[in-house]
């Protein structure tokens, strides 16, 4: 590292050979063409195969070309870039396929008749029928679960943020985290074991209780985040006026964070609305309309999808109904998500920054 060494450096140390800007696109197009070409020549039918061949060609091609023109460091940078892009595309493909097949196959039988009729007189293998009973069941079960879980979740979050000190709060925090990870089927088995104890028959509210267990930790977490965003000055300002703590929480803290809490609850509702496993164990499913969640088996949308798929022995009519119900369920979940995020965005300027 003497001066002499540096002086010997060629003058254009700042100038590296660079591939032109269009090089990655050209390599991508080339690999795609070769990938398809190989598949046609070898008579491969699966889209997955030529896609994989093209992806591998793209990564390897980029590396080889860049290593020759730009040197090994730039080649490594390029291979990382191309791998990251390939990973992104690899993930996009199944997700696009999922959305596309749900929409394109779902619209086949999705109409007003489908939404307003049950499966009462129709065998699973025949065409016709609808999801009215499943919608009723889903709304009731999810609604009851929300009525149980939302207050408990919000109150727990208030406890953790406003009062929580010491071992109890630490234990609650830890177990809320743990509860978030409970598989839905385990929550179902828990309620089932209670029902076995009292020899109860399946009914809608049993499903609600399992769903409520799944919902609570999600509500606690999101509410906690929102309450923590409320500036302490606000609380102190209220307390300094002589307002008791509980009224400060009710009148100052909660209204300030109401938008965020609502968002969190709606996202939690969206999550449990798609749960199948506990409903399968506890509510059983029913092809008839049962609007009483406290007695007798009920249907629910996710369970309906599963049963149309599993119990129909490959009948096309049942698959069509499953797709249509999936589309309905996804639409419901997505609308909840979008509205919830809309509320969050609409309320955001008031709570922060």
């Amino acid at each position: 590292m003497s001066n002499a060494v540096i002086a010997d450096k060629p003058r254009s140390t700042l100038r590296g050979a660079r591939l032109p800007k269009w090089a990655p696109y050209a390599i991508a197009a080339g690999s795609l063409a070769v990938g398809i070409g190989i598949s046609l020549a070898a008579g491969l039918h699966s889209n997955i195969q030529w896609g994989l061949i093209a992806a591998v060609l793209f990564v390897v091609g980029t590396y080889v070309i860049a290593a020759r023109v730009e040197g090994p460091r730039q080649a490594k940078d390029r291979i990382a870039t191309s791998l990251v892009w390939v990973a992104f595309l690899l993930a996009v493909i199944p997700l696009v396929s999922l959305v596309w097949s749900t929409i394109s196959r779902g619209v086949k039988v999705l109409d007003i008749y489908f939404l307003t009729h049950s499966m009462g007189l129709i065998a699973d293998s025949e065409p016709g029928g609808g999801i009215y009973h499943a919608i009723i069941g889903s709304l009731e079960q999810v609604g009851l679960a929300t009525v149980i879980a939302a207050p408990i979740g919000v109150l727990t979050a208030i406890y953790l943020v406003e009062y929580g000190r010491g071992n109890l709060a630490r234990a609650v925090t830890f177990f809320v985290d743990v509860m978030t990870g409970i598989p839905s089927i385990v929550a179902g088995l828990f309620i089932l074991s209670i029902m076995l104890m009292f020899e109860m028959q399946p009914f809608g509210f049993a499903g609600s209780m399992a769903l409520a267990i799944l919902m609570m930790p999600v509500v606690v977490r999101s509410t906690e985040e929102m309450l923590k965003l409320v500036p302490n000055e606000l609380r102190e300002a209220s307390l300094a006026l002589g307002v008791p703590k509980w009224r400060t929480i009710l009148k100052v803290v909660l209204p300030t964070s109401l938008g965020g809490i609502t968002t969190g609850i709606m996202l939690a509702v969206a999550r449990i609305a798609g749960e199948t496993a506990p409903v399968l164990l506890l509510v059983w499913g029913n092809s008839l309309i049962n609007s009483n969640p406290f007695e007798g088996a009920q249907q629910s949308l996710p369970l309906y999808i599963y049963q149309q798929y599993a119990n129909s022995a490959g009948s096309g009519a049942a698959y069509d109904r499953a797709w249509a119900a999936s589309l309905t369920l996804i639409a419901f979940v997505m609308i909840l998500n979008l509205v919830a995020r809309g509320i969050a965005r609409w309320k955001a300027p008031k709570t922060g920054r």
């Binding site: 590292m1 003058r11 140390t13 700042l14 100038r15 590296g16 660079r18 460091r73």
Partner: protein, 258 residues
């Protein structure tokens, strides 16, 4: 190895906001040039254009020329990565890599090029740490994490890391603003030694510091908040602090604003 910097007509933007406007100056090799001026006057932005770090900020873009011994840093076909190897930088807050040992921090830049033997690497690390006046304090714990050092030591570690790759120019962005007076003194002494080997440009808020360490001083100012920063004047440090040619400089230095 120290190179001359020749800036002409340099304008830098953040998105549509013009941060500095039409700056031209020459920085002499083997000297310390200090940039002073009120907050927001664009002196740090200007510093970052000298090693193409400005364009790392989203929306950052530059017009004009920066010649490093006759080669335009913003010319066609110039690789910004190579530019940053030749123009090193020390930041406001010491930023050693938290997961690396002291040794690995200093060797980080060298390892990027890969072709070093172990003994060679150890030699360069020792030489750089000595160059940064840190060797005696850390020679017994080279394998400990760099984040365990004091703030002043961390900053000298960052300087060692920057000089280990033998850059032509060393840019320092308020290197002492996060340090206590004793550590500041150590860095200032170090700057005096390093200027024998490097071209040094230092941004500072502390006018005494500029007066102490620099040979030439550039004063930046902005006409109003939101307006782009401009170079008001650049001259021998002694002249700037005793008899500046522009009234605004004198006002700033004598503490009448800023």
């Amino acid at each position: 190895m120290a190179k001359r910097i020749d800036v002409s007509g340099l304008t830098a933007y953040y998105g549509s906001h013009k941060a500095i406007d039409d700056i031209s100056m020459t920085v002499e090799p083997r000297s310390v040039t200090a940039f002073i001026g009120p907050s927001g006057c664009g002196k740090s932005t200007f510093l970052r254009t000298l090693n193409r770090m400005h364009e790392v900020t989203p929306g950052g873009r530059v017009e004009g020329k920066v010649l490093l011994d006759d080669e335009d840093l913003y010319g066609h076909g110039i690789d910004p990565v190579s530019v940053r190897r030749e123009v090193g930088m020390v930041f406001q807050r010491p930023n050693p890599f938290p997961t690396m040992s002291i040794f690995d921090n200093v060797a980080a830049g060298l390892r990027l090029n890969g072709s070093y033997k172990k003994s060679e690497l150890a030699d360069v690390v020792e030489k750089s740490l000595k160059g940064a006046n840190l060797w005696n304090e850390v020679k017994d714990r080279l394998n400990k994490p760099g984040s365990g050092l004091s703030g002043g030591q961390q900053q000298r570690l960052c300087i060692a890391r920057a000089i280990a790759v033998e850059p032509n120019v060393l840019l320092m962005d308020e290197p002492c603003s996060a340090l206590d007076p004793i550590s500041t003194l150590a860095i200032e002494d170090l700057i005096g030694e390093l200027k024998e080997r490097f071209t040094i440009v230092i941004v500072t808020h502390n006018m005494q510091q500029a007066a102490r360490v620099s040979d030439r001083t550039a004063f930046f100012n902005l006409s109003a908040v939101g307006q782009p920063g401009k170079l008001i004047e650049i001259d021998e440090t002694e002249r700037i602090f005793s008899n500046p040619s522009v009234q605004a400089t004198e006002d700033y230095i004598s503490g009448r604003f800023g």
